[in-house]
């Protein structure tokens, strides 16, 4: 393999580029990114960066002096993959010809229909998004966050520390019920109330009001919540439209095997756009976690370089973290598989809980709030019992 093109220059793309070099690939390496920025870290965007305690230079993922001997094509987007000609087409009209491709195009924040062009309405996914939101939050006022998931909760927490008046609107009856289950979703989202941030659950958003700038969020039950700034945190969808017509199998992202291989030879996919087969669960899962974007490229690159002749290892259970209102939240495993949840240390009321999720007595997931030591113990057990 003489040339590899990595499409996507965020954490998953950079991790793939690093894995290629680490695994001995010494050919031409092209990294394509639609943003102008070099790879940067996203978790601080909703927290320290938004709060102004971390600058742009500290977001850089590459270390000082790191040189992957790669060609960086930044500020240009892939528009198509021609598998027969082995080229990827770019918005600037160029084509990159390669023997191997790593698809790492990530996901894009879902917007609220009808909010286009209305000032004061934000999503948060990229550095440019975060810059714009940071500048608005600095002016203060009333913030309404639509969506009580992790991004929404982190933005609410940060805005609260900046002194804004914050309301979170969540369509489901309990925020975070998807990733954490009802009981623990309620415990974690209870952090909002602990700090005087208003949480409205079980009500959908009908629309936004305002001429040029948003002035209120209109709820389906007829209420109108005044707002100077609105953040829409209602999830993300995989960026795979550009692969239409390429012949690659798509299903909630790029459909992959347990080793990252796609339906096309010499093409692997990693990160938020990739829907990997999970051998433990027996079905595909698309996991939008930092740790997955960091760890899985190693396996995918091994697959690519070996032409698919490697046995995929069993990945560790998915892991993510969130910092909200000064509380460190950590989670590993799959809550949806559990038939019971037990608090094993601390307490839900004390917001220092360690909760273990089990199915038929076997641990399948663990949640920790400010319990890093105990959390890590159970996380290790989880990896041992489920591998």
């Amino acid at each position: 393999m003489r040339t590899v093109a990595v499409v996507g220059a965020s954490l998953a793309g950079l991790s793939a580029a690093r894995s290629l070099r680490k695994q001995g690939f010494d050919g031409r390496l092209v990294v394509i990114g639609d943003e102008l920025h070099r790879p940067y870290d996203r978790p601080p965007l909703s927290k320290e960066f938004l709060a102004g305690t971390l600058g742009e230079a500290e977001l850089a993922l590459e270390t000082d002096g790191e040189d992957l001997a790669a060609e960086w094509l930044l500020g240009t987007r892939a528009t198509g993959l021609d598998h027969t000609a082995r080229t990827v087409r770019l918005t600037d009209g160029h084509e990159v010809r390669a023997d191997g491709f790593v698809i790492a195009t990530g996901a894009v924040a879902r917007a609220l229909p009808g909010s286009e062009g209305l000032a004061g309405v934000h999503t948060l996914r990229t550095l440019d998004d975060a810059r714009a939101l940071r500048d608005e939050l600095a002016r203060g006022g009333r913030l309404v966050v639509i969506g009580g998931g992790f991004i929404g909760a982190e933005v609410a927490s940060t805005a609260y520390t900046l002194g804004l008046e914050v309301t979170v609107v969540e369509a489901a009856s309990t925020p975070l019920a998807g990733p954490l289950g009802d009981t623990m979703g309620a415990v974690v989202s209870g952090l909002h109330a602990d700090h005087g941030v208003r949480l409205l659950c079980g009500v959908g958003v009908k629309g936004l009001s305002g001429e040029h700038r948003v002035d209120a969020v209109l709820l389906e039950d007829g209420r109108s919540i005044p707002a100077d700034i609105v953040v829409v945190g209602v999830g993300a969808r995989p960026c795979v439209e550009w692969l239409a017509g390429s012949g690659i199998a798509l299903d909630n992202g790029v459909k992959c095997g347990a080793d990252g291989r796609t339906s096309l030879a010499g093409v692997v996919a990693v990160g938020d756009c990739a829907n990997w087969y999970d051998p433990r669960a027996g079905h595909h899962r698309r996991v939008e976690h930092w740790t997955g974007a960091r760890e899985r490229p190693e396996a995918a690159v091994a697959t690519l370089l070996a032409g698919g002749a490697v046995e995929p290892g069993v990945p560790r259970p998915p892991y993510f973290w969130s910092d909200q209102y000064g509380v460190r939240i950590q989670f590993a495993g799959h809550a949806a598989e559990a038939d019971s949840v037990t608090v094993e240390a601390g307490s839900a009321e004390g917001r220092d809980v360690l909760a273990v999720y089990r199915r038929a007595g076997r641990p399948v997931a663990v949640l920790g709030m400010n319990q890093p030591r105990l959390f890590m113990r159970v996380r290790k057990e989880l990896a041992a019992t489920t591998s």
Partner: protein, 120 residues
């Protein structure tokens, strides 16, 4: 400076002992029976590496995914970018002593600010 940490017999293989000095230092007893000492705080964010995932000669930060080499202090991948200091370990009469490095530590921004007398 030589600091007594703990008795080797009290530190099972696969476990870590945290010395509560400022900045804290941790002593690791690997599954292979070797003993190492490194700065306890991840260079990325305030987290105790003694709480981390010890595997072979590497410890993974309990919060994120950076791994530090106990022998060299080197870090393998983001979010941490700087190595941790390593300290010499001496075992004498069953007691583990740590000889503190005289290098400047690489501490995460919030801790550096605290040590400098600024806001935590």
């Amino acid at each position: 400076m030589m600091i007594p940490a703990c008795r080797l017999a009290d530190l099972p293989r696969g476990e870590a002992f945290r010395l509560d000095i400022d900045p804290p230092v941790s002593v690791f007893h690997t599954d292979d029976g070797e003993v190492f000492a490194i700065d306890d705080t991840c260079t990325h964010q305030d987290a105790s590496l003694a709480d981390g995932w010890l595997e072979g000669c590497e410890v993974e930060c309990p919060l994120h995914a950076s791994k530090f080499d106990l022998r060299t202090g080197a870090v393998d991948s983001p979010p941490a970018k700087l190595p941790v200091r390593t300290h010499e370990v001496v075992v004498e009469d069953g007691m583990i002593y740590v000889r503190l490095s005289t290098d400047a530590p690489n501490l995460p921004p919030c801790i550096s600010a605290r040590l400098a007398g600024g806001p935590a």
